[in-house]
Structures are given as C-alpha cells and as structure tokens.
Amino acid sequence: MSARDEILGRIRSALRDTPSVPEVPRDYRRSSELGEEELIELLTDRLLDYKANVVVEQASAVPRRLAALLEGTGRYAVPHGLDQSLFAEADGFDGGSSRRVTDAPGHRLSVEELDAVDAVVTGSAVAVAETGTIILDAGPDQGRRVISLVPDRHICIVRAGDITAILPEALRRLDAARPQTWISGPSATSDIELERVEGVHGPRTLDVVIVRG
C-alpha cells in the first residue's frame, strides 16, 4: 500500500468514533468603524512601536518625500509596476543620471544586483492598523517577494485607502493563492536574552510613507 493510502487509512481508522464537526463561533470582531484619520494614527503608532520610520503625506508631496528619503542613497531598486513618475524629483538630485534599477518581467535583477543596491521602494496591497502589518501580494507595484527582502532598506508606500483596522478586514481584500509577504516592522530577533534587535537577515530599516487622498 502506498504511504498516502496507508496514512489516510490510519487516520480514518483513528476517527472511527466519528467525532462531530462543531459549529465555529465567529463572534470575534470581524469589522470595525474607524475613520481614515484614526486608521492612519493607529497604524503610525504601531509601526513606530516596531522601530519603523513613518511619514504621512498628501499624494502630491510623495515625489518630494521620496527624493528626501533617497538623498544620500546610492542605487535603489523598484518594481516595474510602481508609478515611475514618483521618482521624478529623486532622479533630479544627481543631475538626471538615474540611480534607479527596475525589476521587470523581461529584465529580472539578479540576487547579486539586489544585494548591491542600497534600498528598494515598493507599494503595498493592504495594511492592518491594529497590528502594524503591511501586506505585499506581489502585485505589479510590489514586485517579486525577493526584491523587498535582500536590500538593507525597504521604503514602502501605503495608500490610506488600503488601511484596515483589524486583520479579518484585511484578509477579505486578499487572494490566498497569490504569494504574500506580511511585514510588521523591520527584521528583528529576540533570541538573545529576549532583547529585541532590529535587522538580522531582512532589511534593517523600514520606512513607511502613508499617502493621504
């Protein structure tokens, strides 16, 4: 008998008392009623608690903010689907010569190239204010999972309209089958005497730009 059939047989045999399938009580919180300002405030508070850096901007001010964040940074990576006009001012800093490298379907950045850039800028799919979690689902403005992992600094753009208060609301906006990365602050460890240290193997710095409007 194959291992598969044998294991399934053992499990069926173990259940010969036919245990009942209980109703799952879903009376935990599944929705909330926070307004946009409250959501921004809560998400900001939780991200700061994780030692992420947070700024809140109007949409029109994002190119200027990105330019400021990227000032003094060498090369940085972006996914092909992120609005490239966001970088108009950042590119201006060094006289138009672009420090930007784009990860695109026909032109994938190698792991070595990603290891050599100083930062990556991505969008995001959804955020959960209560837990300070930003979820990337590999959409065109977020790119492959690896690009937000290898560079030492991740600058992540979160649209205010994509912020939910609690986790169940966020999951309803997502498709399970898409590859996902949930990010709550920068990489961290508490393995030595439970003292939290930011930055082990993933990005050591997480900058979040929350965009109003």
Partner: protein, 510 residues
C-alpha cells in the same frame, strides 16, 4: 465521501525520532535543577515573555472569542482530516507543488535526502522547524554527507554549540549573551575576535555569517505553521527574515509538515494569525509571514515539495481524550507559564516537544507504554496555568491525568508482585469498608505508642512510608480511640442497653 469509517480498524502506529526521553523525567529534572545558570536564564526569559504576552492579550476585547473559534476550528479539522488532506493535496498539486507522504521519521528523512540529491546539492539552508527537529533530519542528512545550515539565530547558536534546543520558540533560551559570544568566537569562521556580548553585535555577526549561504543556496528546507485546504496555501511565521530568504531565494524548497497543521480555509487564518504571535512572542504581529501556493512562475522556488508527516499523529488522533493535543500551534505559551518547565528547562523532557504540551504530545505520539516516555505525564503540578494560557484551549491537565491513568493501566496488565503501595491500599480498603473492621484496627493503636518511644514521636517509618518521615516526625497516636473513649464515657451507670449499640458504618451514624 462518507465520514463513516468502513474499513478494518487498525492498531495505532506510533511515531519515531526525537520524541523520547533519554532518561526518566524525575532523574533528568533532578540533575537540571542543579544548573543555577540555566535557572537564572530561564527565569528571566519566561518572566519577560509572560509579561509581554499578558499585555498584548489584554489589548484585545475579543481574545476569548478568538480562543473559542480557534478551538472549534481545530476540532473540526481533526474530525474531517482525511477529506481536508485530500482537498489540500489537490489544490497544492494543481498549482505545481509536489506532495510526498511519510509514515514515520525514517521515511520522511529518506524522501528529503533524495529530493536534495536530485538537485545535485550537498548542502541546504534551513528554516527553524519543529517537524524536522522531531524526525532528526539534520543528523540524518549529515550521515548522508549533506550539510544542513540552521539559519534562525537561536537554532544557529544551538547548532554551533553542538547542543540541543530547549524551548520550541526560543531554542537557545537557556544561554545568556556571554555564553553566545563565547560560542561564536569558538565556532564561527572569520568572526571578529573583538566581538562583544551585545545582542545587536551578535546578531550582526550571524547576519554576516549567513548572508553568502542565503545568496548561493540551491535548496532550502522548512516547516510550515499552517496549510489552507481550500487554496493549497502554506504559511511560515517568523521574525528575522531568514525564513523569507530560504523560502524565496533557492530554486528548490522542501517543506516538512505534520498532517495536523491544516486549516480548512483562508478565513480561518484570521483567527490563528491573531492567536499565534500574541501567544508566542507577546507581539501584536510577528515581523514576517510568508504565504505560498505551489509554484508562482517567476517568483520564488520553482521546485516546490511538501512532505506530509504522520509519525504517530494518527495514533494520537485515535485517542479520543488525547487527540486535542494535536490542536497545538506550537506557540510555547504553556511552557512560559509552567512552574515545572521554568525550573527544569526543556532538556529534562528529552523529546523535541518540552513543557506541558510536550508532556502530553510526546507520549501520545510514541505511545504511553514506550520505554521511558511514561514519566512525562507526571512532569506537572497540574496547576492548570497551561490550560489558561493555551490559545486553542487544549485541556492539558485533563489529558495529563488521562495519560497517567493509561500508564497505570498498562503497568497493571503486566504480571508482577504487588507493591507496598498496592498492599497498603488493599489493607486500607479492608479497614475502611466497615465500622467493625475499623474498630479492630483501632485496637492496635497502643502499638503505635510503643513505636514512638518516650519522646512521643515516630521518627522513622519503614518501606514506602519512609519518605514521609524523612523530613518530619509523626506524633505518637493517642492511647485510646474515639470509640473507646465514647464507650468509656457513656457506658453505663444506666445499664447495658445504651452500650450495646456499636456503630456499624458511616451510614448508620446520624
């Protein structure tokens, strides 16, 4: 398909691998208790996590609702396990993943090794995983000439020190920063000789040590925290980013997962991703969670394998009382609140699964009659703190008591001379079965006074009762029993009628 089992019932097949005590718990605990450094490190660590956990749990107004939902979901998973496994398999396979089934540790190890060899690789990077720890994968691969590099900081510390993990969440919890620095200086190639014991410096050393490995590894091995049946999705919950490195960089990913880790659907994840981080590290959310469904073209590993592991889980499932131990999501909240674990540490339990959950899970997976695993259900004060802390409400104390009963029953079946305890109990049973018998026993009281000697204290009892008198004396029994006194006091100037009514038994007294 029918939910009713129609085939021949089979005997449970127990698990193998790192699930056994190496010596009886009382003996191991006695030795570990002498390690003051261990107790200091553990006391600090468990105390810190307890406080953090309490703070983030009390933030949630619906915590009890989430626990109750978590319990019910897991119960329904166990009841429908064969159907859910087939559903998961179909969905994972449809998206380009490959499923392998392993009856026990040996079979799982052989499957993983052959998958690695197929890729022509002789080393792998590893995400911390209880399942691979349970089957002893690293040791097996080493024998096969394949090097497995642990990439979680704590697992790395333990691996470099040729030690064993002592906690399922923070495996190096028993070591302090200075011990970690000494291990790095001794075992890590090319480490800065001026390395200090600051946690940030130590983490940076580990980052530098593993970076090249991540970027060049061809094959990674991981466990999984959850598997979603209705989409075929796997989830890994972690903090450091080493998990993301392993799950996205190599071409081949091999995941080993116990069959009990399934959840029916995507919406169930909303319950468990609230329960797990808060219960385990006391955080609102862990820094990183990765989810993948089979193969995603152009993103992450293109050869994706899952080894589904039985290794005693079907046997645990067959125990109607104990099966809820399989609800465990490996958060470790139970060990952080356990007064026994806090003093003995994880090594005393021998098995991969220490603490209260280990005390029930290990014997359920191996069978309570397994040599040397039958002392684990006694490794508890039955205080119930673990039940209170468990995010899926596993009634650990009840299962401990149930397994103690199983242990006693299994020993009763064996032919052996009755112990002193058996004889004592038999005598007590006779004496207490009627008032007349008790009266007869009481006649022997003055003998006790003789044993006490002139200081009216009994300082040494024989046999199993000796334990009692090791640290205390027993006062000499009174010269007469209550009945004798009563008879004397009420006996009769009034005549024999009153004195001839000896009490027959408890029900006769009113």
């Amino acid at each position: 398909m029918s939910g009713t089992f129609l085939g021949m019932p089979s005997l449970p097949v127990f698990g193998t691998g790192n699930l056994h005590e190496h010596e009886p718990f009382p003996k191991a605990a006695h030795r570990e208790l002498g390690n003051t450094q261990l107790r200091a490190n553990l006391g600090h660590a468990t105390g810190t996590i307890r406080d953090k956990r309490l703070a983030v749990v009390s933030e949630l107004p619906d915590w009890e609702g989430l626990r109750e939902a978590g319990r019910a979901i897991k119960e329904s998973v166990m009841a429908r396990l064969p159907d859910l496994l087939e559903k998961f398999e179909a969905n994972f396979t449809a998206r380009g993943g490959k499923i392998h089934w392993a009856r026990d540790a040996g079979e799982a190890n052989a499957i993983v090794a052959s998958l690695i060899r197929e890729q022509g690789a002789d080393e792998v990077v590893k995400v911390k995983s209880m399942a691979t720890q349970e089957i002893g994968l690293n040791e097996y691969l080493e024998d096969q000439g394949i090097a497995a590099f642990e990439t979680d900081l704590a697992e790395l510390i333990v691996q470099l020190d040729h030690d064993k993990p002592s906690h399922i969440l923070v495996p190096a919890i028993h070591k302090n920063r200075t011990q970690v620095r000494d291990i790095f200086l001794r075992e890590m190639e090319g480490v800065d000789p001026d390395l200090t014991n600051e946690p940030a410096r130590l983490a940076a050393a580990a980052r530098a040590h593993l970076r090249r490995k991540f970027l060049s590894a061809k094959v990674a091995v991981s466990g999984a925290n959850f598997a979603l049946a209705d989409s075929g999705t796997l989830a890994v919950v972690e903090s450091e980013g080493n998990g993301r490195m392993c799950l996205t960089l190599p071409e081949t990913l091999i995941t080993v997962m116990g069959v009990e880790k399934l959840l029916p659907s995507w919406e169930d994840l909303e319950v468990f991703m609230q329960l797990l981080p808060r219960s385990s590290t006391g955080e609102r959310m862990n820094p990183y969670t990765s989810l993948w469904t089979g193969v995603t073209p152009d993103d992450g590993p293109q050869n994706v394998h899952l080894v589904l592991l039985d290794n005693g889980r079907s046997a645990a499932l067959a125990d109607e009382m104990g099966r809820s131990a399989l609800h465990c999501i490996r958060c470790s909240a139970c060990m952080n609140v356990c007064p026994v674990y806090e003093r003995t540490g994880g090594h005393a339990y021998g098995s991969t699964y220490p603490g209260p959950i280990g005390a029930i899970l290990s014997p359920l997976l191996t069978g309570i009659t397994a040599e040397e695993n039958n002392s684990l259900p006694y490794a508890s004060s039955l205080c119930g703190a673990c039940y209170d802390a468990c995010p899926v409400k596993i009634n650990i104390p009840d299962i401990l008591v149930h397994l103690r009963g199983e242990d006693v029953d299994s020993k009763r079946g064996k032919k052996k001379l009755p112990s002193q305890m058996d004889l004592g109990m038999k005598a007590a049973s006779w004496a207490l079965s009627s008032g007349r018998n008790l009266g007869l026993v009481e006649k022997a009281l003055p003998l006790g006074r003789l044993a006490a000697g002139p200081d009216r204290k009994i300082t040494k009892l024989p046999g199993i009762a000796a334990g009692w008198t090791q640290s205390r004396d027993i006062p000499a029994p009174p010269g007469q029993s209550f009945r004798q006194w009563w008879d004397k006091e009420h006996r009769a100037p009034a005549g024999p009628a009153e004195s001839t009514a000896p009490v027959e038994g408890p029900e006769g007294e009113s």
